[in-house]
Subunit: 234 residues, 2 copies
């Protein structure tokens, strides 16, 4: 039986060998939710950057730049980290250079994996179907918040473990913990997360609608995958 | 309101400043359960070591040596890591030098804290009472398994967060996650943990009785505390 494991923080990545694994990077609030929304709305590619300056320089190469730190859009960038900036025709056919507090850092730390795909509640089923057909063991990498474990990414990991439980065995305790938490939260994720630290942080920024949107399951049928340093639809 | 936070793995300790905190180190299976049992049975002191060789050398100074790696007693040491080796008159009045796979490493990584105390289900209430009267914010440091998050230490953290919820506020998402998990598991922790990776590991070593014992709440009214490099009763 293939296995599924969960790395609850990018700061634990050194404990998880990835060279033979399919890595699912998740940053529910909001980087990977934005990316999935952008691909569902026709973006051509998204190039993730860990570093702000390198990302901003991509403007010179004709890229739309998206930059977020501490939940807010960074001055000088075209876009921030709200999924509503990536809907309708706002990104169709464009190339986006993207840097965020946690999500793009998690992608950076996953390099060296057999393959890297982008997960969110919005494309949960697309991710699950892909993993079922893949030959590799799976590692879900939760972006967390500045290295600390967060609830929303853990819930996504739990949703995936739960969905695949008849096909992929949990590799350690983290997938079990995530699955238990998802099973408590699944019928009211917005309510469950209302006490979480990042949701409190986002509520202060008045982006409650972002949160509700990012917790909607199976809104889009897309699967962004990293290839040669950029995300594209497979 | 004072706060309580939970560091789910010693590998995340660099994210948590401890200089102004009371740190509760927990390694339910089985280092801190052994330590608490030993103090309840009259041990004079326990000196924790991260390093095997340094620990073994303490024999020359008249210490009883206890050494465990990968769940098993290490050759040359007097004792291993089963709480049943620390009951009755087996340790009364003795000084023990102790090294384990995870627990003593977690103590090592907590140095620099305002104070360090030892927690387990066996002395849960003693820990909670002490924290209520302390002036400092609290960090529970879960020993985990070789850096990875485990369920049993997370459950203890959750039990403590739950017990103190009217007095100490959660500082981030990890205490909330731990509390949720404890509330699922509390009425049958042995059953809940039967799927966990370390319990499977221990079951192979035929130490199911150790596990049941380590999950017994409030067996002892003792509070080991680190002072000048050694644990003693406060």
């Amino acid at each position: 039986m293939k296995t599924i494991d969960v790395c609850l923080s990018p700061e634990l990545m050194h404990l998880y060998p990835v060279y033979d694994k399919t890595v699912v990077v998740v940053d529910i609030l909001r980087a990977t939710s934005c990316m999935v929304t952008a691909f569902a709305n026709g973006v051509e590619s998204i190039t993730p950057f860990a570093n702000l300056e390198e990302c901003l320089k991509m403007k010179l190469k004709g890229y739309v730049t998206a930059g977020e730190r501490d939940g807010k859009k960074v001055d000088g960038f075209d876009k921030g980290n709200s999924p509503f900036e990536y809907t309708d025709d706002q990104v169709r056919g464009l190339k986006v250079a993207f840097t965020t507090t946690n999500g793009t850092q998690a992608i950076e730390k996953s390099r060296g994996a057999k393959e890297i795909i982008i997960g969110s509640f919005l494309n949960l089923n697309s991710v699950a179907k892909y993993l079922l057909l893949s030959d590799h063991n799976v590692l879900v990498v939760c972006a967390g918040w500045k290295g600390k474990v967060n609830l929303e990414d853990t819930l996504f990991a739990g949703a995936l473990v739960d969905k695949l439980k008849d096909y992929l065995g949990p590799d350690c305790d983290a997938p079990l913990a995530a699955q238990h938490l998802y099973n408590i939260a699944r019928h009211d994720m917005v309510g469950f997360l209302s006490a979480s630290s990042h949701v409190k942080r986002l509520n202060k920024l008045n982006i409650h609608d972002d949160m509700k949107f990012c917790l909607t399951i199976d809104q889009f049928n897309v699967l962004p995958r990293l290839k040669n340093g950029e995300l594209r639809l497979r």
